[in-house]
Symmetry: C2
Subunit: 229 residues, 2 copies
DNA sequence: GCCACTTAGTGTGAAAAGTCAACTAAGTTA
DNA sequence: TAACTTAGTTGACTTTTCACACTAAGTGGC
């Protein structure tokens, strides 16, 4: 690994940033926070924070702490996206950022500005707003991951409340993929993947035929399809 | 992101580790190095090193430096796997390791022990040898990633020399997947994916019918299938 | 009360893809 | 020149996929 005989060397700045997605209406939203301090004062940025070696047991704990600070959400779907590190991405010096992607329910959230930011706000995921640091690249990478994973995983289900209909589930997939899916093929795929179960007796009522409500069989667990949708 | 008003805080140790795979015979091998210094003196570990803020432009450059130090290979297939960080994984303190996965040709390699290690050696990828730190977990994650990506990507092609036959390509896929594939279906899939091209006139000769040699159309680029193999 | 409307959920037939195995091709070796 | 080995193709049969139409079950208008 490394040589402890090496003279002491400067350690990079280490932080954790989050790309927090939620579904509102039929749109995908991402949470951004306005920076209260330099560099990039007043710019929008992904929520994040330094790793606190004395507080955080590990990287995921640090990510959960940041998420909870900003949104109050304690039990999200959380997945490590990638790490971004380099000499020029932060004017303060060589910086390393481990980025997590979270999928949450917008209506469970109580936005707080949190340390180092003046306000937090939902933006459309494809917003063109200018972002601090290399956060534009990071957001792009998160959207790529999300879109590529939608087709063959149960991940989008985490954008829905605990009980949902198959129609709503299909709408989430369609919203992220940006195209319509065949209803019968979709339902067959979902049935085969075997990751939802009907909540017997529970129906969603509207001015039409009531729909069976379903829930995830294994919450917080993502299963993969062997075929793309 | 973070608050510069925060009092100075201890930064974690930041390193880059590599899971370097190569194919020898029909086996998948992984490169391990024996540690020269504590902690875990004398144990086998994934090759790695600290991020050098003054030398490495970014994370990938750091990974390439480590790879070149250990193997002399300059142009590998290199992909960021994940980051592992926590308070207990390194007895010296809160440590953060960004792990890259490399696929290289074993016969292009000139092993060097490099800084901080006494020797470097190829092991079977499924070796049971005891590893330093949490490197056992990391190796497992790399194998998972490799196996899950084999089925729907052109990634295994990077374990072959520049010119290869379709039979050799199929053997690589089969080696990693651990099962036989249908010859005609495999060839059809490869043709559709359109990522190799015949080298006209070049044939592999043996004591049987000569085989057409192919090369990657876009070297160092991985394309995905829409179906699993 | 009945019909139009909407969304839920199922069925069906044609087309595409996968499976399995045999067949031809082209070289080397004895 | 015949046996052997691996390359590469072909075809019949089965399974899956896809597009689309159909039935189901509620509400609301009149």
């Amino acid at each position: 690994m490394e040589n402890p005989d090496e003279p002491e060397f400067p350690r990079p700045i280490a932080s954790v940033d989050l790309v927090i997605f939620a579904q509102s209406d039929r749109r995908l939203d991402v949470l951004l926070a306005r920076r209260a301090n330099p560099p990039f004062v007043g710019d929008w940025a992904l929520p994040g924070g330094f790793v606190h070696a004395d507080v955080d047991a590990d990287l995921e704990a640090a990510a959960r702490r940041v998420l909870s600070d900003k949104t109050g959400v304690e039990t999200p779907y959380l997945e490590q996206l990638a790490s971004f590190g380099g000499a020029t991405r932060d004017p303060r010096g060589w910086s390393l950022s481990v980025v997590y992607m979270a999928l949450i329910l917008a209506d469970r959230v109580t936005l707080r500005s949190g340390a180092g930011t003046t306000e937090a706000q939902w933006f459309q995921a494809d917003t063109k707003v200018s972002l601090a640091f290399d956060h534009r690249d990071i957001l792009g990478a998160a959207l790529d991951r999300l879109r590529s994973k939608v087709g063959y995983s149960t991940l989008p289900a985490h954008l829905l409340p605990e009980a949902f209909t198959l129609g709503e589930l299909q709408a989430v997939y369609e919203g992220i993929l940006g195209r319509a899916l065949e209803k019968s093929a979709f339902r067959k795929r979902i049935a085969e993947a075997d990751f939802v179960e009907p909540i017997t007796g529970e129906m969603r009522r509207a001015s039409n035929r009531p729909a069976q409500l379903y829930r995830l069989k294994r919450a917080r667990h993502t299963t993969l399809f062997d075929r793309a949708l």
